[in-house]
Amino acid sequence: MNIFADALGWILDPANYAGPGAIPVRVLEHLGFTFLTLVVASAIAIPFGFAIGHTGRGRGLAVATSGGLRAIPTLGLLTLVALWVGIGLGAPYVALTVLAIPPILAGAYAGFEAIDRGAIDAARAVGMSEAQVLTQVEIPLGLPLLIGGLRSAALQVVATATLAAYVADFGLGRYLFSGLKTRDYAEMLGGSILVILLALALEAVFATIQRVVVPRGVATTRLPVDRARSARPRPGMEPAITKGNP
């Protein structure tokens, strides 16, 4: 446990709280980068995802491209873009925005697809326009899954932003690389602990948001999952009863 004491000592060392490479500066860089990447990726992915979810068209293409993008190793994309645009923040922004798009896109259209078709038909039946169906039915009901997509995107961006320090002088990953280079295990480990805490904190924030955005009506009508009940609907049984989650 002595190594961890050293790492903790490094985290608490006042010398690491001054100058351009100070811990708070690095944390802010890391967070700001993650936030900006998510905003740009969302601006691209959410409209497309909503369009796919609303019209039901282009889903096959979206699944194929996002599946393909997910198989690409992040470090490979990062180093490749860095060779093209040069050392600095440009490469991480481009590479990570590309990586953040698939989970957000998937969250956006999967959220729409998970909605009970009856609810959407009912909205049309009471005379809602397409825009109203979209903004008052589909978006609120699909929001939890969209936030889920943002959550996995955020997780991936925070993790890969650590690697981005390989091609740019920025973020908490800097401590890990400089510790590796100088064989300073306390710095490496201290930096790692900070990244892990940041990732877990983000995870907690998104888990909370995900719970909060569930519309109140949905939350109260959700049936308790009955483990004894058959998972497959049987003939004669109302499908509404077997389906716990609207």
């Binding site: 190594i3 997910r70 198989a71 690409i72 190793p73 990062l78 480990l189 790692s192 998972a231």
Partner: protein, 228 residues
């Protein structure tokens, strides 16, 4: 392409390194996740604890994980064992939820029938629950395989040899072809392991093929039958 032909030996060596790093975690994560997933599915209290713990473990970024592990379990930073343990942790974290969901998806009537004709909990698990949740487990294992192969490349930044070494080396020496080769090789390796899992699934779950064929057949015939 000239870079590829001139460096086939290097690519082959890194591919072997990559296989050594990524195949054991895929197998280990399945073996370890099986009892954990069963436990998560069986009791209410264990479900919350196990699924929360695996969710948090999965949230830990890989690069810091590679650095923290040696301090926790005493592995050497650059050793393959260190990476194998880290990748196994991610695989287990992903797979536990899949196993729990897969076991929960088994028709309750079938389980009751098994109990009624005298199956013990042990035989019920091996002969009823496990085979019936097979397709779900296979789907989960395929995700684990692809993500493990992709994650193993990150080990290159701490100096562990893998196809990821082509990224770091290509970046430092400014060889674009080397990085692209690394990306293509990683994706191909992931596809290869995925294909191997699908083939293994066909052997282990022969009835899923039959059911699919029947379904496809029914779909083909249906329009003819319903036309008045």
């Amino acid at each position: 392409m000239t870079w590829v032909w001139a460096n086939l030996d290097l690519i082959w060596d890194r591919t072997l390194d990559h296989l050594i790093l990524s195949v054991p975690p895929i197998i280990l994560s399945f073996v370890i996740a099986l009892p954990l997933g069963w436990l998560a599915n069986r009791f209410r209290f264990s479900r919350g604890a196990i699924l929360t713990a695996s969710g948090l473990l999965y949230a830990i970024p890989s690069f810091p994980m590679f650095i923290v592990l040696p301090a926790l379990v005493g592995t050497t930073l650059r050793s393959p064992l260190n990476l194998v343990i880290a990748l196994t942790i991610y695989g287990v974290a992903l797979m536990v939820r899949v196993v729990a969901d897969g076991l929960a998806s088994v028709d309750a009537d079938v389980q009751r029938s098994a109990v009624a004709i005298g199956f013990s909990a042990w035989t019920n698990f091996w002969q009823v629950e496990l085979p019936l949740s097979g397709p779900v487990l296979l789907a989960g294992l395929r995700v684990v395989a692809v993500s493990t192969v992709s994650l193993a490349t990150v080990g290159a930044v701490i100096g562990a040899q893998s196809l990821g070494s082509l990224f770091t080396d290509g970046f430092q020496r400014g060889i674009q072809a080397e990085i692209i080769t690394g990306i293509v090789a990683t994706v191909l390796l992931a596809l290869l392991l995925d294909g191997a899992l699908v083939a293994a699934g066909r052997l282990a779950l022969p009835w899923t093929r039959v059911r699919k064929a029947v379904k496809a057949d029914a779909r083909l015939r249906l329009p003819v039958e319903v036309t008045p």
